[in-house]
């Protein structure tokens, strides 16, 4: 029983950064912008988040640092891809390359340092309940926040007028522009939201997942988050399922390594990446009756004046 509880806790912890980053990217993509720089924004968020927490001693300020760093990175993307109408794929790649270098530069002074990781909720008697107690009432704030974030995004996209306009920009920017909506401004906000989420997701890693910073610690999570958005068919509800499934694969392979299954550890570590490829293939194959992606995703828009 304790093992099951430990596994569920670990799965939630491993899934949370994926869920936060993917939720942000989902909003970005729903507005019609493909920002491939999630990995870069995450890793800068991780470095800045750790720096903030180490300098101030506050996890909350660390998280804010991560959010601000991710947003600033996304603004660079917005300037290029929206302001200068540069190819979004190439700009996203550039953002990741830049982010990896910047995070190394920012984080260099903090390698080897430790902080007290984010506190976990504790409500006497509720948290002490067997099996579900710690899972439901003993998480850190990020886990609860990530779930609130997904619900908030779902509500925004499907229940508000602003969300409808944002989706309209993603499906047909020419029509949205003709109706008088400021397509580029809306997209800039969507990109910034994606950047803020990616920065927070990156900051989660050194603030709550492991209490130290190592260069390259995002290890492709930003790219997996991008794959999750495809997996979810651009719907927040399915994103939750996808993120937790992925967290489960990551944790199970770690446990399998611990149990000494006769497979080399590198093969087990490769599982989450291979799973991403397989899932992408299966999903794309299943979706023969037309794509569910936002119709204008990744296309350049320069308004006529």
């Amino acid at each position: 029983m304790e093992l099951v509880e430990a596994i569920i806790l670990a799965v939630l912890a491993a899934s949370t950064p994926l869920l936060i980053a993917a939720t942000g990217e989902l909003v970005t993509e729903r507005s019609g912008v493909l920002n491939l720089g999630v990995e870069g924004m995450m890793i800068v968020g991780a470095a800045c988040g750790f720096a903030g927490a180490w300098l101030t001693g506050s996890i909350f300020i660390g998280a804010l640092f991560g959010i601000v760093a991710g947003t600033l990175m996304s603004l660079v993307f917005a300037l290029m891809a929206l302001g200068l109408a540069v190819n979004q794929v190439a700009t996203g790649l550039a953002l990741t390359i830049l982010g990896v270098g910047l995070s190394g530069l920012i984080g260099a002074g903090f390698v080897g340092e430790r902080i007290t990781p984010a506190m976990h909720l504790y409500i006497p008697s509720l948290t002490d309940m067997p099996l579900i107690g710690r899972v439901l009432f003993g998480e850190d704030a990020f886990v609860y926040f990530s779930i609130a974030l997904v619900i908030g995004v779902w509500w925004f996209l499907y229940r508000t007028r602003a969300g409808l306009i944002l989706r309209a920009c993603g499906d047909n920017h020419v029509s949205a522009h003709a109706l008088g909506y400021p397509v580029l401004r809306i997209r800039t906000f969507a990109v910034m939201f994606g950047g803020a989420c990616a920065g927070l997701a990156g900051a989660y890693l050194p603030l709550a997942y492991t209490p130290f910073f190592i260069p390259g610690m995002t290890a492709g999570r930003g790219w997996i988050a991008l794959a999750l958005v495809v997996f979810s068919s651009w719907r927040p509800g399915r994103l939750v399922v996808g993120a937790y499934l992925f967290g489960a694969v990551t944790i199970l392979q770690l446990h399998a390594q611990g149990w000494g299954v006769g497979i080399p550890s590198q093969f087990m570590s490769a599982l989450p990446y291979l799973a991403t490829v397989i899932v992408l293939v299966l999903l794309s194959r299943a979706r023969t009756g037309g794509s569910t992606a936002p119709a204008a995703l990744g296309t350049v828009f320069v308004p006529d004046r």
Binding site: L84, A94, I97, L98, L102, V277, L280, S284
Partner: protein
């Protein structure tokens, strides 16, 4: 008053020529600011980065050695990008090529295998790189899965596979438990061009690849098809060009070139297989491809330039204790400026005054 983009009637050829130079200029200005923030003398740092490596023969050879994989990979990637196929997993194809070629080297180690070893290694590495690149290409063509994400995921897989081999079955028994194979035999090593120097045969192969790509793109129907499919997919369909077939082809070629670059690096400057054989060549090559305007000759120049930043970065680290990550930042910023300047080929800035009263006719 507002600054907006406006599409040019015709692409500007002047800007197409000078835009990489503007981009490099802007990058250097940004670097001066960055060096100043880091508390280093910007002029000395720039000298260490861009001038010092050009002043001695050893560094010049080292630049050519570093440029070799960059140019080979970037040529392949440029074919993909021209055809609008987004292979960003060249790093993985590089590693798999290195692994496949090393297999022969490891298996023939200590035997009296003859001169056939190196050619077989090169062919096998190219074949393995091509096959590895075909995975995302086929997933894209058959199932519509995003080649960007699948090719990138396979980088991590290749990295872990190499790690497994050099820590497990291929580890040098006399290597003090370091994760590395034994040094390759002389027959499994890329020959040096100058005795006692660094320059090796791989650089000649890279030059041949550049020439072949220039002929392919400029003088053959296939090259024309690649460019049309990327630039005008609708026109290409009317022309009867098969876009899917070209995705497969360009991925296979770029994978083969990356794989070849991988084994040349391992059997050349490195001399054995170990983790970390690539300081991100597969990703830096993306920058090389764009900085070189997806043009073979341009890529050759861009490859040499980025190799200069690698060597300069190392010298700046030794001489001025500037962190190596500055080189990555430099490369990332350079790619941004290149892309931004390229935008000005198709668009131009225009000032508009949206608040000015529009005079309406009274009729």
């Amino acid at each position: 008053m507002q600054l907006v983009l406006e599409k040019r009637v015709e692409r500007s050829n002047t800007i197409a020529l000078v835009s990489p130079l503007i981009a490099i200029g802007l990058t250097i200005v940004t670097m001066i600011i960055l060096f100043a923030i880091l508390g280093k003398n910007p002029l000395l740092a720039l000298h260490a980065y861009f001038i010092a490596p050009l002043t001695d023969g050893y560094s010049l050879q080292e630049i050519a050695v570093k440029a070799t994989p960059l140019v080979m990979i970037a040529i392949g990637l440029s074919l993909c990008y021209l055809a609008n196929a987004w292979n960003i997993g060249a790093e993985g194809q590089f590693l798999i090529g290195a692994v496949a070629g090393s297999w022969i080297a490891v298996k023939t180690q200590g035997t009296d295998a003859g001169a056939w070893v190196l050619p077989v290694m090169l062919v096998l590495a190219a074949a393995a790189g091509a096959l590895y690149a075909l995975i995302p290409a086929i997933c894209k063509v058959k199932f519509g899965a995003s080649e960007i994400l699948t090719s990138l995921m396979l980088v991590y897989v290749a990295d872990l596979f190499l790690d497994y081999l050099v820590r497990g079955p291929w580890r040098d028994p006399h290597g003090f438990n370091f994760p590395t194979t034994a040094e390759f035999d002389p027959v499994a090593t890329v020959p040096l061009l100058i005795e006692g120097g660094r320059l090796h045969l791989g650089s000649i192969i890279a030059l041949l690849v550049v020439a072949a790509a220039a002929i392919l793109l400029g003088r053959t129907i296939k090259g024309f098809e690649i460019r049309v499919v990327g630039a005008a997919p609708r026109a290409a369909r009317f022309g009867g060009f098969n876009a899917n077939q070209l995705i497969i082809l360009t991925f296979a070629v770029s994978g083969a070139l990356a794989g070849l670059a991988g084994i040349i690096e391992v059997a050349g400057p490195v001399g054995h297989l170990q983790p970390g054989i690539s300081p991100g060549y597969g990703f830096t090559a993306i920058i090389v491809a764009f900085l070189g305007r997806l043009n073979p000759l341009g890529i050759l120049i861009a490859g040499l330039f980025l190799a200069l930043t690698f060597i300069g970065g190392e010298q700046a680290q030794i001489a001025m204790k500037i962190p190596l990550d500055v080189t990555k930042v430099f490369q990332g910023i350079l790619l941004f400026y290149v892309l931004a300047c390229d935008s000005l080929i198709l668009y131009r800035f225009k000032l508009v005054f949206p608040n000015r009263q529009v005079t309406r006719g009274t009729g």
